[in-house]
Amino acid sequence: MNFYPLTKRALKSRRRPLNQLFRIMKLTAFIITIAILQVSARVAAQKVTLNEQQVSLEKVFKDIRLQTGYDFLIDNGLVEKAGPVTINVKNADLKDVLDVILQSPLAYEVVNKTVVVKNQQPSLFENLKDKAAKLLALPADVHGKVIDSLGQPIIGANVILSIKGYSYGTVTDNKGEFQLNKLPQERYTLVITYVGYDKLEKVVDLNGSDLSLNLVLHNSSSVLDQIQVIAYGTESKRFNVGSVTTVTAEDIEKQPVSNPLLALQGQVAGLNITATSGIPGSQVLVQVRGQNSLNVFPNLNNTIANPTKPYDQPLFIVDGVPFAAQNNNVNQLASLVTAQTYTGGVNNGAQVGISPFNNIDPADIESITVLKDADATSIYGTQGANGVILITTKKGKAGPTNFDLTVNTGFNSASHPVQMLNTQQYVQLRENALAADGLTPNSNPNDYTGAYAPDLTIFDQNKYTNWEKAIYGQNTSNTDVHGSLSGGTANNTFIISTGYDKSTYDYPGDFADQRYTLHSSLHHGSTDNRFSVDLTTDFGYDQNNSSGFDGGSDVVLPPNLPNLLGPSGNLIWNYKGVDLTTDQFYAGLQEPTYLQNYNFNTAFHISYKLLEGLTISANMGYNRNSTNENSQMPAAAQNPAGFVLRQSNFGVTTFQTVNIEPQINYTKKIGRGIFSALVGGTYKKNVSNSTQVDASGYSSDFLLNSVNDAPQTSVYNMDTYDIYRYSAGFARLNYIYNSEFILNLTGRRDGSSNFGPTHQFGDFGSAGAGWIFTEEKAVAKALPFMSFGKLSGSYGTSGTDGAYAYQFLSLYKTIQYFPAFQGISPTSPFNLYNPDYSWAVKKSLNVALDLGFFNNRVLLNATYYRDREGNQLVQSPLPIQVGLPAVLENLNATVQNKGYEFTINTTNIQTKNFSWKTNFNLTFNRNKLIAFPNLANSTYANTYVIGQPTTIVYGFKYKDVNPTTGLFEFYKADGKTVTSNPAYGLPSAGGDEVPIADQQVKYMGGFGNNFTYKQFSLYIFCQFADQNAQNYLAQVYTSYQLGFEYNEPEAVLGNYWEKPGDVAQLQRLASGYSSSAINTALKFGQSSGIYSNDTYLRVKTVSFSYQLPNTFLNKVYIKGASVFVNAQNLFTFTNYKAGDPETPGLFTGLPVQRILAFGLNLKF
């Protein structure tokens, strides 16, 4: 049987020796490369509609391929022999259609979605020869070629021809061909396996004549063999020895979130995602496998109890381009977003802001891959030390032009609102508080004894306003529209998609976050498949309109406070002589803040196949993320009785990355294995700068949009600038032997501009190895139910240059905000000269066991890892006599993160109509400081403890409430003596502050169930976490003292001490700062009493969809349609009192939102 490309009509059928014939087969274009459209394949499986008049067989095949995804293999000569075809069928079975068009002398055979067309009758000569061979039982050769559904040869596929007891194996070569010689006549089973493709199994009858086979492997449907994006390439789970997890579009699309990072929550073992608030557009913190670095900027004073700690976040790469803004806030001005002070569990004092990822439409994302261990990340070297997140956007797929439209609209509300006291409860609490201090409330504002209580004496005692509801209670809406046009031919594909998203705020006012995105991707490949280019471009425009001042803390306003708005919506500043300025949050809401963020990302990939197996390529990318901001303080929002100053602030922030990465890929079959090498270089330049102009003294509220109209003397400017250049050379060598043993080596040399001239370069590397033990016959035999088993491990190093540029130099800067000294602009030195610091080095060990059972319907992964970051790059505190409080240098301190990760994927039920799949993951990470020379004598003494997690918090150890005095009591530094007045400072300074809490997440995870029944599908995903975090008392005892003129969460009721003998959770009330009980209250705010366990399980996502039947759709020319309901943060089960367990310690903040979205998806 001869094979010729359908498209190469010039090649006539010729008789040649077999080996020559097969050489021709490298012209693999005889498969018209239309990828399988999953949707159409599923919906219209094997149904064909054709209306062809006198067309070539080739044309018919093309049409059938488009409709069914079936490929055709046919000899050119046969096509000519067959002549033109006429057929007219509607929704006919493929088999029936094939029977009609492939009549004698043609015959066909369907092998795994490929229709092999052949001559029914072998020639007489062939017949004779075959018969003779059979009779003589001559051995014969088997020659084959393995290609994928795009016609590309598959190099390194495992080929095994077996029969009871024996097997003959080989691997396909660089042309995808294999040859097994002199095989005895038998009926063999041929098994072809290759990563990312479904296993091909076929019975081969060898009866003495040489056999040539053409085999097509189809993309895998098993999770194990699905291709996932890894560093500079792709690899399947099967052969991956690194720790890599991918979340696909399928999982992302079901979550009605506008920030793609939120869609990762609970989905990936080892990945901690933390929403900082429920404000649209707000920051989402990301951490992979715990905190590695220690750097804290020291204070002159050594007594601050909880210093700001760093929070490591991974490297973010979008379509191969390092995301310029990384996960930094894009805003610099204050707004409702920054007003949400986030404290939960992180203790990094991170000022909450606008997330840069808010400007990427989740609907444009194909997959998000999380790289965790040294094997996976070390090729990113110094940049990847804290893990890497690869975001890959959607690419066009060959096939008919497809238009896909999704519209959904949703309703948001606080997922876990706090119940505050009502007026009656509040008044009672306040009266008790004043009574406790022996005071009688009065209405004299000049009474400094603390008895002045307008809420009890002047305000209406029966009026009730639920401020929580007034501030956060608005039901908000979400609208999301996404349209995508894609298609193309094998060599040219495209996608263009556009999206609009609008989320409004819970706050009263016209506030919203709106996003407009345009995504496109083009692919071109030359017809000989040697040359290809890809261009992907994303543009996002995000507009966040809010106000400059927080109303959040005002949920604690007295519930009987007079109205703050007049009948016409005017601001009320005074009630019966009581000044309401500090309560007037509506004024803050009338100070507009406008933020406009632009994200432009373009990624260009070009590659050329020089030789078989040798490809040169380059990635080039540019990302720019810029933000314009304006916040205004009009006179209309200020108390006219006070000092009115109109003010307007302007900010511009820009992050840019240029990235160029030339690469060479080499793949070759060596022995029974496949060797591949990647050698490349990286050049990266990051520039970020920001400018802020603050102007005041305007003459009118209507001029606040411009800086021009402010008096020149009242304009203040500042800017920041950072530059980073990075270059690296790297190599990755990979050898997969016999589909059983895997060895992966990476090495790299990095240069960073952040270091002094003699320390710019560093070398890093990793080694990974894996053994797929189920490839061992003995194992396979002993454990027949085990379909896959792999033991893998990796060890390697990566570095961190977590510093800013120029920090090694002694630099001078202008002393800002101070007038010129005698006409001379003053400058001062702010950096000590230290050219000697260099990379912090992280060493990572990763061991994983992967198991697959029952034909991989159950897949398990268990991973153990241990990361140690040493040679820490820290601001080392110095005695001030040297001139400045610290210098950046390497410190021989080591932080360890050690943990276990478990992942399970199962297909519980898979029938024609019903399927049920489950996934589950669970992570335990333990962080520990294992070395820190001379810790006790450094300013880090009250920050870290050797042998303890870096998330430790210092404070007073709380005991309980003394039943006699009614005051909080604490333990002194010795841990035994009880006092109600512990001393500030470390024990070494005579203080009583000891480690009191560890805020690290103890365990976290998620589990999802996916059900489909006919056209219905239901997805339920739950996420859980357990940590020790600040409870609601943190805010009560640090900001809104119990008994003061503040409302409190209902949870305090009945819990405070009232009379001697009471055993209570909270101490006696204090009505003001002159109360004798205030000191212990403030100490409690620094004690272990404000920390408690925070365990929650959140029904994160519920997604229900219904696919409309085709019979209906065909009438309206729609290929597919579905309606869906997606819900996010639907229910929460928690032991956490008052406030959202995800944003602990903050009951006044806008909590995480519950979203309910209804939508429609149409495919044209």
């Binding site: 050698v679 501009s753 002694s810 003053p826 000269y833 005695p879």
Partner: protein, 463 residues
């Protein structure tokens, strides 16, 4: 086959390696836009002078130390000038219960060292610098030495011997012990002697914000006085008075602290265009009737003689609670700058007269001593001193009394006087409780001892 691979791979690795090691690829501009390197800062006099201005800029932390009022309030509370109405750790200065973690102590220790680093860096930058004219280098060097002398003079008076740092290499200075008080004084003398050689009588810029020759001489007079070098103190003070650059008689009490005061030898403008000097921020109430944090202590209030115009001009009063009149320092009056604005006074002719008076008294030139005291008294509207002109002790008493009144709440003069004359124990012991000999020196901040364990804490304090 393997040969091929090896050849290719080696070639590729070489390419990669050369990519990686290329320094050009990671070159960045020499300095960030808003900052310049030390070398660039001192390329010419126009930019070098900015670093000099930085030393004087009234900004705690990176500029002129003692710009936050800490020196005034701490020494005022520790002596018998002030009382404190609040309950925070400033009260420890008054009660002599200072702990090494007191925040005021941290300011008094840290800010001067940060300023000294700036001074050292400027000295370092202008020395052997071919881009600068010799006269410029001379002027700047002299000025910087005066500033450094001022800092070390105050450090040694507050803490005793402190680490002596005159270089900028942190590695050399981060682990050093305290020097003796004598060594610090010797550096102060050395700096001032050198400054005296380099400076001229002309102020290098308008006003008297940057030291001239007589600033160095006046400070030298003060240091000599503190060290009991009476003749030197006398001579230096004498030469300042006789320079003819300064006057007292024609400067009204209300004009002493104003910018352009003819009495000023060294005065520095306030921190910003929109606020007054730190002492005004500390003492003057926000609005009439606003609570006062600091009150003048009774011993000081009662030390004023009847009819002393300084009481009218330099003391503010308020009525508190049950018709009690309380007093507060009112030498600096403007929380917001007036016209002309007030400047922070560092050295003035009034003090120099009193230095000459005290030195003269010790040198038994009692007539001269009383004459100088009377110059001060005359301006205050008081009659000539009635002290017994034949008794050295009586004249010295008159001088010290005049110092107490004239120089109250001016950067530690009273506290230093009580200590150096050995009268602290008697005076303070009689006026309030808690004073002990150990209280004469403040503790070294705990954090500093942790960071440099060669620093030994002053007696009487535990870490």
């Amino acid at each position: 086959m393997f040969f091929d691979i090896n050849k290719i791979m080696i070639g590729l690795l070489l390419v990669a390696a050369s990519f990686a090691s290329c320094k050009k690829l990671i070159e960045i501009p020499q300095n960030p836009p808003a900052e310049i390197t030390r070398q660039e800062q001192f390329t010419d006099s126009a930019s070098a002078i900015s670093a000099v201005a930085g030393v004087y800029t009234y900004d705690t932390g990176t500029g002129f130390a003692y710009s936050d009022g800490t020196l005034t309030y701490s020494t005022g509370l520790s002596s018998d000038e002030l009382t404190y109405t609040q309950t925070d750790d400033r009260q420890e200065f008054y009660n002599y219960t200072l702990t090494p973690i007191n925040s005021g102590i941290t300011s008094l220790w840290s800010y001067p060292y940060q300023s000294i680093y700036q001074v050292n860096d400027v000295l370092n930058g202008v020395t052997n610098n071919n881009g600068l004219s010799a006269s410029f280098v001379k002027q700047v060097t002299g000025e910087m030495e005066v500033v450094r002398a001022l800092y070390y003079f105050n450090m040694v008076n507050l803490f005793g011997g402190v680490p002596l740092v005159t270089t900028t290499n942190y590695a050399a200075n981060e682990h050093i012990p305290r020097n003796t008080a004598a060594a610090i004084y010797s550096q102060v003398f050395k700096d001032l002697a050198d400054a005296r050689k380099k400076l001229t009588s002309a102020y290098p810029s308008s006003g008297r914000a940057r030291p001239n020759l007589y600033t160095a001489v006046a400070l030298l007079a003060k240091v000599n006085l503190y060290q009991g070098n009476w003749q030197n103190a006398y001579n230096e003070a004498d030469s300042v008075i006789k320079s003819g650059l300064y006057s007292i008689a024609d400067v009204p009490l209300s004009g002493v602290f104003l910018d352009g005061s003819n009495e000023a030898i060294w005065q520095i403008p306030a921190a910003t265009d929109y606020s007054g000097v730190a002492d005004a921020q500390l003492f003057v109430p926000y609005y009439p009737g606003a609570p006062l944090n600091y009150l003048l202590a009774t011993p000081l209030v009662s030390a004023f003689e009847a009819g002393d115009q300084r009481f009218q001009n330099w003391v503010g009063s308020a009525v508190s609670g049950a018709n009690t009149t309380v007093y507060y320092p009112y030498k600096y009056k403007d929380r917001q700058p007036g016209t002309p604005p007030e400047d922070q006074m560092i050295l003035r002719l009034g003090e120099v007269y009193l230095i000459r008076a005290e030195a003269a008294a010790h040198l038994s030139n009692l007539t001269q001593a009383l004459a100088d005291v009377n110059v001060i008294r005359a301006r205050a509207g008081l009659a000539a001193s009635t002290a017994d002109a034949t008794s050295q002790a009586a004249v010295l008493n008159a001088v010290m009394h005049e110092r107490q009144i004239e120089l109250f709440c001016e950067w530690g003069n009273r506290w230093y006087d009580l200590k150096r004359t050995g009268t602290a124990a008697t005076v303070l012991g009689a006026e309030k409780t808690g004073y002990s000999a150990d209280a004469a020196l403040y503790p070294i901040p705990e954090a500093q001892i942790q960071l440099d364990n060669l620093l030994i804490q002053n007696p009487g304090y535990t870490n």
